[in-house]
Protein backbone atom coordinates (compact mmCIF):
# COMPACT_ATOMS: atom_id res chain seq x y z
CA UNK A 1 0.00 0.00 0.00
CA UNK A 2 1.39 3.39 -1.02
CA UNK A 3 1.38 6.34 1.30
CA UNK A 4 -1.23 8.07 -0.86
CA UNK A 5 -3.57 5.08 -0.51
CA UNK A 6 -2.87 4.97 3.16
CA UNK A 7 -3.84 8.61 3.62
CA UNK A 8 -6.98 8.08 1.56
CA UNK A 9 -8.01 5.15 3.71
CA UNK A 10 -7.29 7.04 6.91
CA UNK A 11 -9.39 9.97 5.71
CA UNK A 12 -12.20 7.61 4.92
CA UNK A 13 -12.42 6.70 8.58
CA UNK A 14 -15.73 7.89 9.92
CA UNK A 15 -15.85 8.79 13.57
CA UNK A 16 -18.96 10.32 15.10
CA UNK A 17 -19.48 11.25 18.71
CA UNK A 18 -22.02 8.99 20.43
CA UNK A 19 -25.42 10.54 21.23
CA UNK A 20 -24.75 10.44 24.96
CA UNK A 21 -21.62 12.51 24.56
CA UNK A 22 -23.36 14.91 22.19
CA UNK A 23 -26.11 15.48 24.73
CA UNK A 24 -23.56 15.99 27.50
CA UNK A 25 -21.69 18.61 25.49
CA UNK A 26 -24.95 20.30 24.57
CA UNK A 27 -25.83 20.56 28.24
CA UNK A 28 -22.40 21.98 29.00
CA UNK A 29 -22.76 24.63 26.33
CA UNK A 30 -26.27 25.67 27.39
CA UNK A 31 -25.18 26.05 31.03
CA UNK A 32 -24.34 29.57 30.23
CA UNK A 33 -22.13 31.59 27.98
CA UNK A 34 -19.43 33.18 30.12
CA UNK A 35 -19.34 36.94 29.73
CA UNK A 36 -16.26 38.07 27.85
CA UNK A 37 -13.71 39.73 30.07
CA UNK A 38 -13.92 43.38 29.28
CA UNK A 39 -10.65 44.48 30.90
CA UNK A 40 -7.77 42.49 29.52
CA UNK A 41 -4.17 43.15 30.46
CA UNK A 42 -3.53 44.57 27.01
CA UNK A 43 -6.34 47.07 27.35
CA UNK A 44 -5.19 47.96 30.85
CA UNK A 45 -1.66 48.46 29.55
CA UNK A 46 -2.89 50.54 26.63
CA UNK A 47 -4.56 52.88 29.13
CA UNK A 48 -1.94 52.77 31.88
CA UNK A 49 1.08 53.65 29.74
CA UNK A 50 -0.31 56.93 28.30
CA UNK A 51 -1.69 57.88 31.72
CA UNK A 52 1.71 57.29 33.33
CA UNK A 53 3.40 59.32 30.61
CA UNK A 54 0.89 62.12 31.07
CA UNK A 55 1.40 62.14 34.83
CA UNK A 56 5.18 62.21 34.38
CA UNK A 57 4.93 65.05 31.86
CA UNK A 58 2.61 66.99 34.19
CA UNK A 59 5.03 66.61 37.07
CA UNK A 60 7.94 67.75 34.93
CA UNK A 61 6.02 70.71 33.48
CA UNK A 62 4.59 71.93 36.75
CA UNK A 63 7.70 71.34 38.87
CA UNK A 64 9.17 74.74 39.84
CA UNK A 65 12.74 74.86 38.66
CA UNK A 66 15.71 76.33 40.50
CA UNK A 67 15.85 79.10 37.96
CA UNK A 68 12.25 80.05 38.58
CA UNK A 69 12.88 80.15 42.32
CA UNK A 70 15.78 82.49 41.81
CA UNK A 71 13.68 84.75 39.58
CA UNK A 72 10.94 84.87 42.16
CA UNK A 73 13.46 85.78 44.83
CA UNK A 74 14.81 88.59 42.68
CA UNK A 75 11.30 89.86 42.06
CA UNK A 76 10.71 89.98 45.80
CA UNK A 77 13.99 91.74 46.32
CA UNK A 78 13.78 94.34 43.57
CA UNK A 79 11.18 96.77 45.03
CA UNK A 80 13.19 97.10 48.25
CA UNK A 81 16.39 98.31 46.62
CA UNK A 82 15.58 100.74 43.92
CA UNK A 83 18.68 102.74 42.88
CA UNK A 84 20.63 101.39 45.83
CA UNK A 85 20.33 104.63 47.77
CA UNK A 86 20.04 104.91 51.50
CA UNK A 87 16.50 106.16 51.08
CA UNK A 88 15.51 102.96 49.35
CA UNK A 89 16.32 100.75 52.33
CA UNK A 90 13.18 98.89 53.41
CA UNK A 91 11.23 100.12 56.35
CA UNK A 92 12.82 98.98 59.60
CA UNK A 93 9.55 97.80 61.07
CA UNK A 94 8.94 95.53 58.09
CA UNK A 95 12.37 93.93 57.99
CA UNK A 96 13.14 94.01 61.67
CA UNK A 97 10.10 91.92 62.41
CA UNK A 98 11.98 88.98 60.92
CA UNK A 99 15.09 89.52 63.08
CA UNK A 100 15.76 87.37 66.13
CA UNK A 101 15.42 88.83 69.59
CA UNK A 102 18.36 88.06 71.86
CA UNK A 103 17.32 86.77 75.29
CA UNK A 104 19.91 88.38 77.57
CA UNK A 105 19.96 88.69 81.36
CA UNK A 106 21.75 91.91 82.39
CA UNK A 107 22.64 90.61 85.85
CA UNK A 108 24.47 87.57 84.49
CA UNK A 109 27.68 87.31 82.48
CA UNK A 110 26.73 86.03 79.06
CA UNK A 111 28.74 85.74 75.89
CA UNK A 112 26.62 86.78 72.93
CA UNK A 113 27.51 86.14 69.31
CA UNK A 114 25.35 86.83 66.27
CA UNK A 115 25.70 86.28 62.56
CA UNK A 116 23.57 88.28 60.17
CA UNK A 117 23.57 87.82 56.40
CA UNK A 118 21.86 90.51 54.35
CA UNK A 119 21.25 90.86 50.66
CA UNK A 120 20.90 94.12 48.78
CA UNK A 121 20.28 94.74 45.11
CA UNK A 122 23.28 96.75 43.96
CA UNK A 123 26.92 97.33 44.76
CA UNK A 124 26.10 100.91 45.78
CA UNK A 125 23.59 99.60 48.30
CA UNK A 126 26.33 97.41 49.81
CA UNK A 127 28.48 100.48 50.35
CA UNK A 128 25.58 102.39 51.91
CA UNK A 129 24.73 99.44 54.16
CA UNK A 130 28.31 99.28 55.42
CA UNK A 131 28.28 103.00 56.27
CA UNK A 132 24.96 102.71 58.06
CA UNK A 133 26.09 99.61 59.95
CA UNK A 134 29.15 101.43 61.24
CA UNK A 135 27.00 104.41 62.24
CA UNK A 136 24.54 102.16 64.09
CA UNK A 137 27.40 100.44 65.90
CA UNK A 138 28.93 103.72 66.97
CA UNK A 139 25.58 105.13 68.11
CA UNK A 140 25.10 102.12 70.40
CA UNK A 141 28.53 102.51 71.98
CA UNK A 142 30.19 99.76 69.98
CA UNK A 143 33.07 99.61 67.57
CA UNK A 144 34.00 97.72 64.38
CA UNK A 145 36.54 94.97 64.89
CA UNK A 146 37.07 94.38 61.17
CA UNK A 147 35.57 95.54 57.89
CA UNK A 148 36.18 93.76 54.59
CA UNK A 149 34.48 94.90 51.41
CA UNK A 150 34.96 94.00 47.77
CA UNK A 151 33.14 94.63 44.51
CA UNK A 152 33.34 93.10 41.06
CA UNK A 153 31.26 94.70 38.35
CA UNK A 154 27.69 94.84 39.50
CA UNK A 155 28.25 92.50 42.42
CA UNK A 156 29.70 93.47 45.77
CA UNK A 157 30.08 91.95 49.22
CA UNK A 158 31.14 93.21 52.62
CA UNK A 159 31.97 91.40 55.83
CA UNK A 160 31.95 93.30 59.11
CA UNK A 161 32.80 92.16 62.61
CA UNK A 162 31.15 94.52 65.05
CA UNK A 163 31.45 94.77 68.81
CA UNK A 164 28.31 96.09 70.46
CA UNK A 165 27.56 96.41 74.19
CA UNK A 166 25.66 93.34 75.27
CA UNK A 167 22.85 95.43 76.65
CA UNK A 168 22.22 96.87 73.18
CA UNK A 169 22.65 93.75 71.10
CA UNK A 170 18.96 93.24 70.41
CA UNK A 171 18.57 96.79 69.25
CA UNK A 172 21.70 96.45 67.12
CA UNK A 173 20.43 93.32 65.41
CA UNK A 174 17.06 94.90 64.82
CA UNK A 175 18.55 98.00 63.24
CA UNK A 176 21.18 96.13 61.24
CA UNK A 177 18.66 93.65 59.85
CA UNK A 178 16.73 96.59 58.42
CA UNK A 179 19.62 97.35 56.05
CA UNK A 180 18.64 94.61 53.59
CA UNK A 181 16.83 91.35 53.09
CA UNK A 182 17.76 88.81 55.72
CA UNK A 183 19.29 85.74 54.09
CA UNK A 184 21.00 84.26 57.13
CA UNK A 185 20.72 84.87 60.84
CA UNK A 186 22.27 83.10 63.78
CA UNK A 187 22.38 84.07 67.45
CA UNK A 188 24.46 82.28 70.05
CA UNK A 189 24.23 83.04 73.80
CA UNK A 190 26.53 81.29 76.25
CA UNK A 191 26.13 81.81 79.97
CA UNK A 192 29.51 82.36 81.68
CA UNK A 193 28.17 83.24 85.13
CA UNK A 194 28.50 79.74 86.53
CA UNK A 195 32.17 79.57 85.51
CA UNK A 196 32.84 82.97 87.02
CA UNK A 197 31.20 81.94 90.30
CA UNK A 198 33.39 78.85 90.41
CA UNK A 199 36.45 80.94 89.76
CA UNK A 200 35.44 83.35 92.52
CA UNK A 201 35.10 80.49 94.99
CA UNK A 202 38.47 79.10 93.93
CA UNK A 203 40.16 82.49 94.35
CA UNK A 204 38.61 82.89 97.80
CA UNK A 205 39.88 79.45 98.84
CA UNK A 206 43.36 80.21 97.53
CA UNK A 207 43.38 83.54 99.35
CA UNK A 208 42.48 81.78 102.61
CA UNK A 209 45.38 79.40 102.04
CA UNK A 210 47.59 82.39 101.32
CA UNK A 211 46.56 84.08 104.57
CA UNK A 212 47.31 80.90 106.49
CA UNK A 213 50.72 80.54 104.90
CA UNK A 214 51.61 84.16 105.57
CA UNK A 215 50.77 83.62 109.25
CA UNK A 216 53.31 80.80 109.48
CA UNK A 217 57.04 81.38 110.07
CA UNK A 218 58.87 82.30 106.94
CA UNK A 219 60.81 79.44 105.48
CA UNK A 220 62.01 78.65 102.00
CA UNK A 221 59.11 76.23 101.50
CA UNK A 222 56.42 78.63 102.64
CA UNK A 223 57.91 81.41 100.55
CA UNK A 224 57.77 79.21 97.45
CA UNK A 225 54.20 78.13 98.23
CA UNK A 226 53.15 81.77 98.77
CA UNK A 227 54.70 82.77 95.45
CA UNK A 228 52.94 79.92 93.65
CA UNK A 229 49.60 80.79 95.25
CA UNK A 230 49.95 84.45 94.37
CA UNK A 231 50.76 83.58 90.77
CA UNK A 232 47.81 81.23 90.60
CA UNK A 233 45.42 83.79 92.09
CA UNK A 234 46.62 86.49 89.68
CA UNK A 235 46.17 84.14 86.76
CA UNK A 236 42.63 83.31 87.79
CA UNK A 237 41.81 87.00 88.34
CA UNK A 238 43.17 87.90 84.91
CA UNK A 239 41.11 85.14 83.32
CA UNK A 240 38.02 86.28 85.16
CA UNK A 241 38.54 89.87 84.07
CA UNK A 242 39.03 88.78 80.47
CA UNK A 243 35.81 86.79 80.60
CA UNK A 244 33.90 89.72 82.06
CA UNK A 245 35.28 91.99 79.33
CA UNK A 246 34.31 89.47 76.67
CA UNK A 247 30.78 89.27 78.00
CA UNK A 248 30.46 93.02 78.11
CA UNK A 249 30.50 93.22 74.30
CA UNK A 250 28.57 91.09 71.87
CA UNK A 251 30.18 90.11 68.58
CA UNK A 252 28.07 90.58 65.48
CA UNK A 253 29.27 89.13 62.17
CA UNK A 254 27.48 91.12 59.49
CA UNK A 255 27.69 90.19 55.81
CA UNK A 256 26.08 92.27 53.11
CA UNK A 257 26.11 91.10 49.50
CA UNK A 258 24.39 91.51 46.19
CA UNK A 259 22.67 88.49 44.61
CA UNK A 260 24.59 86.31 42.16
CA UNK A 261 24.08 87.36 38.55
CA UNK A 262 21.34 85.42 36.84
CA UNK A 263 22.04 83.31 33.80
CA UNK A 264 20.93 85.20 30.75
CA UNK A 265 20.12 82.10 28.74
CA UNK A 266 16.86 81.62 30.62
CA UNK A 267 14.89 83.84 28.30
CA UNK A 268 16.30 82.08 25.25
CA UNK A 269 14.12 79.05 25.95
CA UNK A 270 11.43 78.44 23.40
CA UNK A 271 7.96 77.16 24.01
CA UNK A 272 9.11 73.61 23.49
CA UNK A 273 11.65 73.83 26.30
CA UNK A 274 9.30 72.04 28.68
CA UNK A 275 8.69 69.31 26.13
CA UNK A 276 12.43 68.88 25.70
CA UNK A 277 12.84 68.57 29.46
CA UNK A 278 10.02 66.05 29.63
CA UNK A 279 11.52 64.04 26.79
CA UNK A 280 14.91 64.21 28.47
CA UNK A 281 13.49 62.79 31.67
CA UNK A 282 11.61 60.16 29.74
CA UNK A 283 14.86 59.27 27.97
CA UNK A 284 16.70 59.02 31.28
CA UNK A 285 13.92 56.83 32.60
CA UNK A 286 14.08 54.69 29.49
CA UNK A 287 17.83 54.24 29.86
CA UNK A 288 17.43 53.18 33.48
CA UNK A 289 14.58 50.87 32.55
CA UNK A 290 16.71 49.31 29.82
CA UNK A 291 19.72 48.96 32.09
CA UNK A 292 17.63 47.18 34.69
CA UNK A 293 15.06 45.55 32.46
CA UNK A 294 17.26 43.95 29.80
CA UNK A 295 19.19 41.67 32.20
CA UNK A 296 15.95 40.75 33.94
CA UNK A 297 14.33 40.00 30.60
CA UNK A 298 17.31 37.89 29.54
CA UNK A 299 17.12 35.87 32.74
CA UNK A 300 13.38 35.45 32.35
CA UNK A 301 13.78 34.41 28.73
CA UNK A 302 16.44 31.86 29.65
CA UNK A 303 14.21 30.49 32.40
CA UNK A 304 11.28 30.34 30.01
CA UNK A 305 13.32 28.46 27.42
CA UNK A 306 14.60 26.04 30.05
CA UNK A 307 11.11 25.34 31.36
CA UNK A 308 9.79 24.92 27.84
CA UNK A 309 12.56 22.50 26.94
CA UNK A 310 12.05 20.42 30.06
CA UNK A 311 8.31 20.36 29.52
CA UNK A 312 8.72 19.30 25.90
CA UNK A 313 11.12 16.52 26.80
CA UNK A 314 8.75 15.23 29.43
CA UNK A 315 5.91 15.43 26.93
CA UNK A 316 7.91 13.49 24.35
CA UNK A 317 8.75 10.88 26.94
CA UNK A 318 5.10 10.64 27.89
CA UNK A 319 3.88 10.27 24.31
CA UNK A 320 6.83 8.27 23.00
Amino acid sequence: MSQRDLVAELRAAHLTAPPGLRERVRLISVEGQPAPRRITWRRALAVAVPVAAAVAATIVFTRPTHQANRDQALERLAPATVHGSAASVPAPTERAAKAFTVPTAPDRAQQVGATLGLRVATAGAVSDAVKRALAITASLGGYPLSVHAQSHGKTAAAMLTLKVPRTHVSEAITRLSALGSIRQEHVDVTDKQAGLNTTDRLIARLQRQLTTLRAQPTTATTTAQIAALVARIEQLQRGEAATRRATHYATIQLSVATPQPTVATHHGHGRLHGVVIALTWLGIGAVYALAIGVPVLLVLAAAWFAVRMVRRRREDALLG
Partner: protein, 170 residues
Protein backbone atom coordinates in the same frame (compact mmCIF):
# COMPACT_ATOMS: atom_id res chain seq x y z
CA UNK B 1 -5.21 20.54 2.84
CA UNK B 2 -6.69 23.62 4.49
CA UNK B 3 -8.98 24.11 7.43
CA UNK B 4 -9.09 27.90 7.44
CA UNK B 5 -12.54 29.32 7.85
CA UNK B 6 -13.58 32.91 7.11
CA UNK B 7 -12.78 35.32 9.90
CA UNK B 8 -16.41 36.42 10.14
CA UNK B 9 -17.36 32.82 10.86
CA UNK B 10 -15.07 32.69 13.87
CA UNK B 11 -15.96 36.15 15.13
CA UNK B 12 -19.68 35.45 15.20
CA UNK B 13 -19.36 31.92 16.55
CA UNK B 14 -20.64 31.34 20.07
CA UNK B 15 -19.40 28.55 22.28
CA UNK B 16 -22.52 26.49 21.66
CA UNK B 17 -22.02 26.78 17.92
CA UNK B 18 -18.35 25.90 18.22
CA UNK B 19 -19.15 22.88 20.38
CA UNK B 20 -21.79 21.69 17.95
CA UNK B 21 -19.58 22.23 14.90
CA UNK B 22 -16.41 20.64 16.25
CA UNK B 23 -17.58 17.95 18.65
CA UNK B 24 -16.83 15.16 16.18
CA UNK B 25 -13.40 16.60 15.42
CA UNK B 26 -12.45 16.78 19.08
CA UNK B 27 -13.85 13.35 19.78
CA UNK B 28 -12.01 11.86 16.79
CA UNK B 29 -8.77 13.53 17.73
CA UNK B 30 -8.98 12.25 21.29
CA UNK B 31 -9.98 8.77 20.15
CA UNK B 32 -6.92 8.50 17.97
CA UNK B 33 -4.75 10.14 20.57
CA UNK B 34 -5.78 7.85 23.42
CA UNK B 35 -6.72 4.82 21.27
CA UNK B 36 -9.63 4.26 23.61
CA UNK B 37 -13.15 5.42 22.78
CA UNK B 38 -14.46 5.35 26.32
CA UNK B 39 -11.56 7.40 27.57
CA UNK B 40 -12.01 9.72 24.61
CA UNK B 41 -15.67 10.24 25.51
CA UNK B 42 -14.75 11.23 29.04
CA UNK B 43 -11.95 13.48 27.90
CA UNK B 44 -14.17 15.14 25.32
CA UNK B 45 -16.64 16.07 28.04
CA UNK B 46 -13.84 17.43 30.20
CA UNK B 47 -12.46 19.30 27.20
CA UNK B 48 -15.70 21.14 26.56
CA UNK B 49 -16.17 21.93 30.23
CA UNK B 50 -12.73 23.46 30.33
CA UNK B 51 -13.25 25.19 26.99
CA UNK B 52 -16.41 26.83 28.31
CA UNK B 53 -14.44 28.28 31.22
CA UNK B 54 -11.68 29.48 28.92
CA UNK B 55 -13.84 30.66 26.04
CA UNK B 56 -13.10 34.34 26.83
CA UNK B 57 -9.48 33.64 25.95
CA UNK B 58 -10.33 32.41 22.49
CA UNK B 59 -9.07 34.87 19.90
CA UNK B 60 -10.43 34.28 16.37
CA UNK B 61 -7.55 36.29 14.92
CA UNK B 62 -5.01 33.80 16.21
CA UNK B 63 -6.66 30.67 14.86
CA UNK B 64 -9.90 28.85 14.27
CA UNK B 65 -12.15 27.57 17.02
CA UNK B 66 -11.34 24.03 15.95
CA UNK B 67 -7.62 24.57 16.43
CA UNK B 68 -8.24 26.18 19.80
CA UNK B 69 -10.51 23.33 20.92
CA UNK B 70 -7.88 20.82 19.83
CA UNK B 71 -5.32 22.68 21.94
CA UNK B 72 -7.59 22.44 24.96
CA UNK B 73 -8.24 18.78 24.19
CA UNK B 74 -4.54 18.08 23.97
CA UNK B 75 -3.93 19.67 27.38
CA UNK B 76 -6.70 17.55 28.85
CA UNK B 77 -5.29 14.42 27.20
CA UNK B 78 -1.79 15.12 28.46
CA UNK B 79 -3.14 15.51 32.00
CA UNK B 80 -4.89 12.18 31.51
CA UNK B 81 -1.71 10.50 30.25
CA UNK B 82 0.24 11.78 33.23
CA UNK B 83 -2.30 10.56 35.75
CA UNK B 84 -2.57 7.24 33.90
CA UNK B 85 1.17 6.84 33.99
CA UNK B 86 1.22 7.35 37.73
CA UNK B 87 -1.72 5.04 38.22
CA UNK B 88 -0.23 2.32 36.00
CA UNK B 89 3.08 2.52 37.78
CA UNK B 90 1.27 2.08 41.09
CA UNK B 91 -0.97 -0.75 39.96
CA UNK B 92 1.63 -2.69 38.05
CA UNK B 93 2.99 -3.82 41.38
CA UNK B 94 -0.29 -5.55 42.18
CA UNK B 95 -1.74 -6.64 38.84
CA UNK B 96 -1.16 -6.45 35.10
CA UNK B 97 -2.91 -3.51 33.38
CA UNK B 98 -6.13 -4.12 31.47
CA UNK B 99 -5.78 -4.72 27.74
CA UNK B 100 -7.68 -2.17 25.69
CA UNK B 101 -9.19 -3.05 22.36
CA UNK B 102 -8.47 -0.03 20.20
CA UNK B 103 -11.06 1.10 17.65
CA UNK B 104 -10.16 4.15 15.59
CA UNK B 105 -13.28 4.54 13.49
CA UNK B 106 -15.67 3.01 11.04
CA UNK B 107 -14.31 2.12 7.64
CA UNK B 108 -10.79 1.19 8.62
CA UNK B 109 -9.36 -2.21 7.83
CA UNK B 110 -8.29 -4.48 10.65
CA UNK B 111 -4.67 -4.23 9.48
CA UNK B 112 -4.78 -0.47 9.55
CA UNK B 113 -6.39 -0.46 12.99
CA UNK B 114 -3.64 -2.75 14.19
CA UNK B 115 -0.94 -0.63 12.60
CA UNK B 116 -2.42 2.51 14.17
CA UNK B 117 -2.47 0.82 17.54
CA UNK B 118 1.25 0.15 17.25
CA UNK B 119 2.01 3.83 16.80
CA UNK B 120 2.89 5.90 19.84
CA UNK B 121 0.31 8.46 21.05
CA UNK B 122 2.58 11.22 19.77
CA UNK B 123 2.61 9.74 16.29
CA UNK B 124 -1.12 9.04 16.29
CA UNK B 125 -2.01 12.60 17.30
CA UNK B 126 -0.08 14.13 14.43
CA UNK B 127 -1.78 11.75 12.00
CA UNK B 128 -5.14 12.59 13.55
CA UNK B 129 -4.58 16.32 13.25
CA UNK B 130 -3.14 16.35 9.75
CA UNK B 131 -5.09 13.52 8.12
CA UNK B 132 -8.27 12.90 10.07
CA UNK B 133 -9.03 16.53 10.96
CA UNK B 134 -7.34 17.82 7.80
CA UNK B 135 -5.57 20.66 9.60
CA UNK B 136 -2.82 22.44 7.71
CA UNK B 137 0.75 22.22 8.93
CA UNK B 138 0.64 25.59 10.69
CA UNK B 139 -2.54 24.87 12.64
CA UNK B 140 -1.41 21.37 13.59
CA UNK B 141 1.94 22.72 14.68
CA UNK B 142 0.16 25.30 16.83
CA UNK B 143 -1.83 22.58 18.53
CA UNK B 144 1.29 20.52 19.15
CA UNK B 145 3.41 23.49 20.20
CA UNK B 146 6.12 22.75 17.66
CA UNK B 147 7.27 24.21 14.35
CA UNK B 148 5.54 23.45 11.05
CA UNK B 149 8.66 21.70 9.77
CA UNK B 150 8.83 19.51 12.81
CA UNK B 151 5.16 18.71 12.45
CA UNK B 152 5.61 17.66 8.83
CA UNK B 153 8.60 15.53 9.76
CA UNK B 154 6.63 13.79 12.49
CA UNK B 155 3.76 13.14 10.07
CA UNK B 156 6.06 11.65 7.47
CA UNK B 157 7.70 9.38 10.02
CA UNK B 158 4.34 8.23 11.35
CA UNK B 159 2.97 7.51 7.86
CA UNK B 160 6.14 5.65 6.93
CA UNK B 161 5.82 3.56 10.05
CA UNK B 162 2.22 2.81 9.22
CA UNK B 163 3.13 1.91 5.64
CA UNK B 164 5.85 -0.45 6.82
CA UNK B 165 3.52 -2.09 9.30
CA UNK B 166 0.87 -2.60 6.64
CA UNK B 167 3.42 -4.01 4.16
CA UNK B 168 4.69 -6.43 6.77
CA UNK B 169 1.12 -7.48 7.54
CA UNK B 170 0.40 -7.97 3.86
Amino acid sequence: MTSRRPAAYNEQMTFAQAAEAHLDDVYGYLTWFTSDRFTAEDLTGVTFERALRLWHRFDPDRGSARTWLCQVARTVALDHFRSEKRRTRREQLAAAPEAVDPRFGEGLSAELESALARLTPGEREVVALRVLLDLDAGAAARVLGISSTNCTTRLNRALKKLEEALNVAA
